[in-house]
Symmetry: C2
Subunit: 135 residues, 2 copies
């Protein structure tokens, strides 16, 4: 069985301190959040300021990894649906992909809009959002 070790390249710092407080999806929140890139990865940020939209890939460290089906949007009247057919954070590998607006870059800190991750969420990767590929 394959298995991979993943270490974060940074962390999200936001005003959201628990999951209950978190909006359902990133685009519903209007607050800005900061992404701090760890010093050993700062060279990987060179040129990032040229992009207006980024994909931020996070590890939802508080999510339940054993749940395979959920009621979408936590609506118990909705039929149980496999997590691969929902955007629930509960899933075997709780990876979130946020499309965010890049507001500013200062040293190893990005300020972005459009992410609802809890304060302290690990960041696994950052990429430019490319319209032709992602929309």
């Amino acid at each position: 069985m394959d298995e991979f070790n993943i270490a974060p390249v940074g962390y999200v710092w936001s005003d959201i301190t628990d999951r209950v407080q978190a909006p359902r999806q990133g685009r519903d929140t209007s607050a800005a959040a900061r992404i701090e890139i760890l010093p050993q990865y700062s060279d990987a940020m060179d040129g990032i300021e040229q992009w207006g939209k980024l994909q931020v890939i996070c590890w939802m460290h508080l999510a339940d990894r054993d749940t395979l089906a959920v009621h979408p949007r936590r609506d118990v009247s909705a039929p149980l649906t496999g997590v691969f057919a929902t955007r629930s954070p509960a899933r075997p590998n709780p990876i979130a992909v946020y499309t965010v607006d890049l507001l500013s870059v200062e040293r190893n800190v990005l300020t972005v809009k459009g992410i609802d991750a809890v304060d302290g969420t690990p960041v696994l990767d950052i990429k430019p959002h490319v319209h032709r590929l992602d929309d």
Copy 2:
């Protein structure tokens, strides 16, 4: 230092057997690929057939994880750019996010269009593509 263990939920089966043969990005290829979900995760697929577009999150197992800067599009005349500002597969956590068209679902196999992953690439997660959130 945080570290996470990730095991694949499935694999990509495609006609692309090496990286040289692989198109630069998923949307450039027109061939269909199959995604086989491992039996222990098949319940997580329930309802997936209702979606036309999916996000498929892969682990690019052949990618170099030590490279922090590249020449974009392998063009040596382009300035070295941090990997977080490019879509290069080389990056500390080589995670690829493909937006694909779902063509069919048969048991634990999805047939999709728009993925250029090498045959045998591990799949980490699958989500519906939601226009409001992802575009």
